[in-house]
């Protein structure tokens, strides 16, 4: 189980949260093309490496927030509120080996 840090409540076990996919996907204007709409709804970077993603603290404060997590090591490097400035993505070399899962 992962240890997820909610920027409002602090570190909590993963089962209190729902992951809500890639972060910072802006809804296009109502006049957008079908391609832009499909991009918004369905197309994802699915990045291998550091990823910005949304989580929701469903069994806690209920709020959405963003994190930076590495998708190979599953290691969280930052957790920030919606609307806050995005933290920098670390260099890929700094990722290191996969962390042991907290059990």
């Amino acid at each position: 189980m992962l240890l997820v840090t909610c920027p409002y409540c602090g570190p909590r076990p993963e089962i209190e949260f729902r992951q809500a996919g890639e972060a910072h996907i802006a809804r296009p204007a109502i006049t957008c093309s079908d391609d832009e709409w499909a991009d918004f709804l369905y197309m994802r970077d699915n990045h291998k490496g550091y990823m910005r993603e949304r989580w929701r603290h469903v069994a806690g404060c209920g709020r959405f927030f963003n994190v930076v997590r590495h998708t190979v090591t599953d290691k969280f490097v930052a957790s920030y509120k919606v609307g806050e400035e995005k933290p920098a993505i670390p260099a890929e070399a700094a990722a290191g080996p996969r962390v042991e899962i907290v059990r």
């Binding site: 499909a38 699915n46 993603e53």
Partner: protein, 416 residues
């Protein structure tokens, strides 16, 4: 060499020391007519059918690790075709047809065992959904039948029918032609048959880039074993599809998640079929070796880690222990994870891409093993002719733009 009773007898007298290598281990040639990326079951099946049915012999399969080392070797080997929509029914039933005599066709025992797949219903809603599937399947000519709780118990004697459990059993949908096969043997059988037809299977060869010419069409692959020129590339890379497609500048409607499975210590034959339960997240069968093979749901977050949280498998074992109380004292031996590529509508993509010469077979999510022969068969047609096979035609990438989705909640037997 041909496997037969006589070859077995001959080797028995020769102390089994004369069995040859089953496939060649060639150096990559500078150029091929087509290259398949990913030597899992689907990729090897694709290459085999391209050689066997479309006469393409100058082709290669490149693989980052070893063949069958990804999800092909990590799944729970369940085979069934009782999907809801016509498009999926056609696709999965096509695969089920090929499974019937696959061992004979490949001259390699894939141990397909039609022992029946029983999908349990625990709520009124489950019952309605299962019956809807049964009716849809009946209209499509796919066998799938309803069993009441007593009939379920007859079919799986170890089932717990106690009405006082958290999710009591209200019946189940049984597909008798469903079952299991030996997953490694499927990869090995296709590899052996493809290699015999001249397909080069190149392992430990990771694709690092997809080269395109001035017109934008594919013209080669950069790999860790050098540049390979080719006009056609078929990406069959499961969880890593997005990574590969990014090399050609194509963004995919995919997300990769860990999916876990586990096996118990070997037991004497106790479990005669496959049982799945959508509602309480578990599926179970017993392998020919005797171990209980148990599958869990996906973890909730995107990952390429090939491992997942223990609470996911624990949740599954809770369900198994409630359904089959006699397994409570069975020890689990190993658990592991594979990375599955999930599409928004839980149906695969078997299609051309916006890049000329680049084809993709992906998005099988949590249930690709059952489709291995059918997937390879229709994708081989798509790559060889440049146009989708009739059965593969609905499974385009464009469906996410047109909205013509194939919404298969049943794609995984466990709810997401």
């Amino acid at each position: 060499m041909h496997f037969s009773f006589f070859s077995l007898l001959r080797q028995a007298f020769a102390k089994h020391e004369g069995w040859p290598r089953q496939w060649r281990d060639p150096e990559p040639k500078p150029a091929y007519d087509a290259v398949i990326v990913g030597a899992g079951g689907h990729g090897l099946a694709t290459a085999y059918y391209m050689a066997a049915e479309h006469g393409m012999r100058n082709i290669a399969v490149v693989e980052k690790g070893w063949l069958g080392g990804g999800n092909t070797g990590r799944n729970t080997t369940i085979i069934r075709s009782n999907y809801l929509w016509e498009e999926s029914e056609a696709l999965y039933d096509h695969a089920l047809d090929i499974w019937q005599d696959l061992s004979q066709v490949l001259n390699y025992n894939v141990m397909y065992s039609a022992r029946g797949v029983l999908m349990l219903a625990h709520t009124i809603h489950d019952v309605q959904v299962a019956k809807r599937h049964i009716h849809a399947n009946r209209l499509a000519g796919i066998e799938n039948e309803w069993l009441d709780p007593g009939q379920c118990k007859d079919f799986v004697p170890v089932l717990n029918l106690d009405p006082n459990i958290r999710y009591p059993i209200m019946g189940g949908a049984l597909q008798r032609k469903g079952g299991v096969a030996r997953h490694d043997a499927v990869a090995w059988g296709y590899a052996r048959a493809a290699s015999a037809l001249g397909v080069d299977i190149i392992q430990n060869c990771e694709v690092k880039g997809i080269r395109r010419d001035a017109s934008g069409a594919v013209c080669g692959l950069d790999t860790t074993r050098g540049m390979i020129a080719t006009k056609k590339v078929g990406v069959v890379a499961a969880g890593h599809t997005s990574v590969l497609m990014q090399m050609a500048g194509v963004r995919m409607p995919l997300e990769s998640y860990p999916l876990q499975a586990l096996v118990s210590e070997p037991l004497k034959p106790i479990f005669p079929c496959v049982v799945m339960s959508n509602t309480i997240h578990a599926y179970i069968s017993q392998s020919d070796k005797g171990d209980l093979v148990i599958g869990a749901g996906t973890d909730q977050y995107n990952s390429y880690s090939q491992t997942g949280g223990l609470h996911i498998t624990q949740h599954t074992l809770d369900a198994i222990c409630e359904l089959f109380p006699m397994f409570r004292r069975v020890r689990m031996l190993r658990n592991w994870g594979g990375i599955v590529d999930v599409t928004p509508d839980r149906s695969p993509i078997i299609a051309k891409t916006p890049v000329p010469g680049l084809f993709v077979n992906c998005g099988w999510g949590t249930g690709g093993f059952k489709a291995t022969p059918g997937s390879g068969h229709v994708f081989a047609h798509t790559v060889a002719t440049g146009e989708p096979h009739r059965i593969a035609a609905p499974f385009t990438i464009e469906r996410f733009k047109t909205g013509r989705l194939i919404d298969e909640a049943a794609a995984a037997a466990v709810a997401h």
